[in-house]
């Protein structure tokens, strides 16, 4: 999958001139993408939309984090998922919604009307159950069995977790089966079957059947296998195989019935599973004394397949028991030649010699046995000459390569070790379906049969590699029982420690990146400050231009003011002059009519005189307040307002400049701090990493010590085996020499000649 987005963005942010380049890149990408989309493709352009201020929704925040973790798991990034989920589980702030207070707040938010479409579904879910389920999935996928068990236990007690019971229960069953806790497997099977949808899952029934088989409860195991077969799917053939074995009920006298079922199955089974069926049929037929059937079944196993060694050895023995000595010798010799590392090599070599001897070739057998005795003696000497330090080095190498497990595989050479991958108890689709609450999809991958070829492949690809001088046969020599039990515990501790280190490294990486993002954000602030300074300069230029324009207008305004003044003054003078003329005319009329003035006329003249006086007074009043009146003219008021605005703009300009300077200082200071030293969180993450590394080193030491001690014990055991094999070979040689001595001379020579070619098995 892609690298996390913030890594990509961080890189680009730190590059110079990213802004223009990124825009260009996007612009270039659109037509390209449109072209690749074919004729139907076209760009639906979108204008930039300013989203309304986001609502606060703690539950949606937590839900989003869980869904991100779900995606990480689906994208095979369990470490990223685990990091997020463990952090969420430990964060009381993030998960506060699960407290009463948080729930009340959520209820309030719902009452207020949650707007987003996802809010309703988010509210219905149990965040705690989802979190624990995803944690369990992460631990399980990372092989952290102890942590998985703990979380699975917590999940069981969590309300709303019922729908996860089948998936988690299946994983718990697998874990219990691996530990040999068959009673627990069966107990879990009952609870999984009782869970909604659990009765339809085939794996729990298969494991239930296997556990019952191991407990000797064959009838119950057959019932479980029948359920698996009824459901069909990838586990059905395995159930059929196991049912065939279970129907013997542990009684080999009933083997013919089982063989019949196995032969039927073998006819339709293909691939590795088919080989598995045929090998088991061969071994069962051999145990039942049906050697020809055993040979036929063993021959059905492909020569180049993983189970070929076991089939070849089984065929050798069946041929030998059936009296086909030449073919038996050939099969044994082939086995010894092809698989020299397997413990059965010398058994095969002895049987090859024995078949030769019983076939009448005493001379050849004598030589063959002697050559084997010499070869084993050399190997024994080489093994005894191995210094303990070399074994210790081998143990360290195997542990460093995390390949120590191959030394503790109990049954690869038997071809009866079934490996259930984690996906068996729920692959990605199953996990997604469980999270969504929909029907579980059918299982896609069945168990894998571990073969010798797998071990060899693992050894070849392991890094660092084992030294060529390391006696590899020790890896196939059975481990001590106590060592094997201790190994399971210590290997688990080391696996957990490995994950913890990886997780701590991820945490450090995350914090370092977060710090770089913080630095990038501050650098962005500096860029913004610079942009604002530029913008401020442009605004300052506007202010200055306004000031200049206003200053230039002062003269125009002064002239205008005088013009208005004069115009008004002219009107005042005119009014006063007219008032004076009226008064004169009134006085003249009054003088002409003196003595003959009627009362009405006198009143009229009085009113006229009063009117003239009023106009005169008004004109005088206007003249007195003319300057103030002119000042209130809109033009001069606007000019005054602009002058006031200019003063305010100057003040604002100073404020912005001061704010920008303060921001620049704050950003610079914090940047210097961030660049000079790591954040407390990064330091804490580094401390956590150091602690995890120490724990891992301790776990490694313990596992190395265990493997080292076990390899030494194995070396002694193997030396003993070799010693016995050498003695057996020497005995075989002597025995052959005896038979050669008592056989007729001609025949001996002839058989001796034929046997010389077999000297080097």
């Amino acid at each position: 999958m892609d690298q996390p987005g913030y890594v990509a963005i961080l890189k680009s942010r730190l590059e110079a001139a990213t802004l223009a380049l990124a825009t260009l890149a996007l612009a270039a990408w659109i037509p390209l993408a449109a072209q690749s989309g074919g004729s139907d493709a076209h760009v639906v352009s979108g204008l930039r939309v300013e989203l309304p201020p986001p609502d606060s929704s703690q539950r949606r925040g937590v839900d989003a984090e869980l869904r991100i973790a779900l995606f990480d798991l689906a994208a095979n990034r369990p470490l990223a998922a685990l990091d997020r989920l463990e952090w969420l589980r430990s964060s009381s702030l993030a998960m506060e919604l699960d407290s009463g207070r948080g729930a009340a707040r959520a209820a309030g938010a719902r009452a207020a009307g949650a707007r987003a479409a996802g809010a309703g579904e988010a509210a219905r879910r149990s965040s705690r159950a989802d979190l624990l389920f995803l944690l369990a999935e992460s631990y399980s996928r990372l092989g952290m069995v102890g942590s998985f068990r703990e979380v699975a236990g917590a999940l069981e007690q969590t309300p709303g977790a019922e729908r996860y019971a089948p998936v988690v229960g299946s994983r718990l069953m697998l874990d219990a089966y691996r530990r040999g806790d068959f009673a627990r497997v069966r107990e879990l099977a009952r609870s999984v079957r009782a869970a909604p949808g659990g009765e339809l899952l085939p794996l729990p029934s298969l494991l239930d059947g296997l556990a019952a088989y191991q407990q000797g409860r064959y009838a119950e195991s057959r019932a479980a296998f029948a359920r698996v077969r009824a459901e069909g799917g990838v586990y059905a053939p395995y159930a059929q195989l196991m049912d065939a074995l279970a129907q013997m009920g542990g009684d080999t006298t009933r083997a013919p019935e089982a063989l019949g079922a196995l032969h039927s199955l073998a006819q339709v089974a293909t691939g590795a599973f088919g080989d598995h069926v045929r090998l088991i049929a061969a071994e069962l037929a051999y145990e039942s004394g049906q050697y020809e059937s055993a040979v036929a079944s063993a021959r059905g196993v492909g020569a180049g397949t993983g189970l070929a060694p076991q089939a070849l050895l089984a065929r050798g023995w069946a041929l030998y028991r059936n009296g086909d000595l030449a073919e038996a010798r050939s099969a044994f010799a082939e086995f010894a030649a092809k698989y020299p590392l397997l413990p059965e090599r010398d058994e095969a070599r002895l049987m090859a010699g024995q078949a030769m001897l019983e076939g009448g070739n005493a001379a050849g057998a004598e030589g063959y046995f002697q050559a084997m005795a010499d070869s084993v003696a050399l190997e024994l000497a080489a093994l005894r000459s191995q210094s303990p330090a070399r074994l210790s080095e081998g143990a360290r190498t195997l542990v460093a390569a995390r390949a120590a497990g191959i030394a503790f595989m109990s049954f690869p050479r038997d071809g009866k070790t079934l490996a259930f991958p984690e996906g068996s108890a729920g692959d990605i689709s199953t996990m997604l379906a469980a999270f969504q609450g929909s029907e579980m999809p059918p299982a896609r991958g069945g168990p894998h049969i571990v073969s010798v070829a797998d071990i060899e492949r693992r050894l070849q690809t392991a890094e660092p590699k084992l030294d060529a001088s390391f006696p590899r046969r020790l890896l196939y020599t059975p481990a001590g029982k106590e060592s094997a039990q201790s190994y399971a515990v210590r290997a688990q501790q080391l696996a957990d420690a490995d994950v913890r280190v990886a997780l701590a490294e991820y945490g450090v990486h995350e914090q370092v990146e977060a710090n770089q993002m913080r630095i990038a954000a501050l650098e962005e602030l500096q860029v913004i400050v610079a942009l604002h300074e530029k913008r401020l300069s442009s605004d300052a230029a506007v202010v200055a231009a306004t000031r200049d324009s206003l200053a230039a207008m002062r003269t125009v305004l002064a002239r205008g003011r005088e013009r208005v003044r004069q115009a008004v003054l002219a009107r005042i003078s005119e009014t006063q002059s007219m008032a004076a003329r009226n008064r004169f005319m009134i006085d003249s009329v009054r003088g002409s009519l003196e003595g003959n003035l009627a009362a009405d006329d006198a009143e009229t003249l009085g009113l006229e005189a009063q009117t003239a006086a009023s106009f005169d007074q008004l004109a005088s009043l206007v003249r007195g307040g003319l300057d103030a009146l002119v000042q209130r003219h809109p033009v001069f008021a606007t000019a005054d307002s602009i002058a006031g605005r200019l003063r305010a703009a100057d003040s604002l300009h100073r404020q912005v400049r001061s704010v920008l300077a303060a921001d620049s200082v704050a950003a610079g200071s914090l940047l210097a701090e961030l660049r000079a030293a790591e954040s407390a969180r990064t330091t804490a993450a580094r401390d956590a990493l150091a602690a995890a590394q120490q724990e891992r080193a301790a776990a490694e030491r313990e596992l190395v010590a265990l493997l080292d001690a076990d390899l030494r014990t194995r070396a002694l055991s193997l030396a003993g085996e070799l010693q016995r094999d050498r003695e057996a070979a020497e005995y075989g040689s002597a025995n052959a020499a005896f038979f050669r001595a008592i056989e007729p001379a001609g025949g001996t020579e002839a058989r001796s000649g034929a046997g010389e070619g077999e000297r080097t098995p």
């Binding site: 986001p54 929909s438 033009v635």
Partner: protein
């Protein structure tokens, strides 16, 4: 008698003639007066207009209003600058950043599914995504892909997403305000062949 009558009629006709002439002259005088009055009115109106123009000072007023508008605009910008930068500076001093998370989900996908996705945050770099069938299944079953998560300044951020949905290019460009001290989520959900944005915030849901 008849002579008197004739003299009378001649005199009467003469007088009638004189009356008609006087009336005609009077009519002409009236017309002249109307014309003179109209001219006087016109001159008076022009004088009034000139006086009004003088008194109103329209050109000066217009110039001043223009200056005032420019100044007001500059002031408004500076105020905005001051407030925004003050808020940003305060956030930096308080060391309470904001986290922006950009997510992609899929409520429904048309035939052709989901192809390449490109996201650009603040024009600062393109993040490309491609989705496997399993990843698409995850998206359809409720998982969301975290395309971007980072500490950002508590201010508006531009997010531009282009996706191939059902074989055609769909584009969406939004501006989202990252809140100080909060984790701001911006989720694009593929719904009915479109990219539908939604946003919300929460506290403490980011480990940094």
């Amino acid at each position: 008698m008849w002579e008197n009558q004739r003299v009378y009629e001649e005199r009467r006709a003469q007088l009638v003639q004189q009356l008609h002439e006087a009336q005609s002259e009077l009519s002409e005088l009236r017309s002249d007066r109307v014309r003179v009055e109209a001219r006087v009115d016109n001159i008076f109106a022009q004088t009034l207009e000139q006086r009004a123009r003088t008194l109103l000072m329209s050109p000066e007023q217009s110039a001043l209003l223009q200056l005032d508008s420019m100044l007001a605009s500059a002031q408004s910008r500076m105020q905005d600058q001051r407030d925004r930068m003050q808020a940003l500076g305060d956030a930096v001093r308080r060391r309470s950043g904001a986290v922006l998370v950009v997510l992609l989900g899929a409520d429904s996908l048309p035939d052709g599914g989901l192809g390449a996705v490109r996201v650009v945050v603040d024009s600062a770099g393109a993040i490309d995504r491609g989705y496997s069938p399993l990843a698409i299944e995850a998206l359809q079953r409720g998982a969301v892909d975290e395309i971007y998560r980072g500490e950002v300044l508590p201010t508006s951020h531009d997010v531009w997403i282009i996706a191939t949905v059902g074989g055609r290019q769909v584009e969406r460009r939004v501006s989202v305000a990252a809140k100080e001290g909060m984790v701001t989520y911006l989720q694009f959900s593929v719904r009915q062949g479109q990219l539908v944005p939604s946003t919300w915030t929460s506290r403490g849901t980011s480990p940094f």
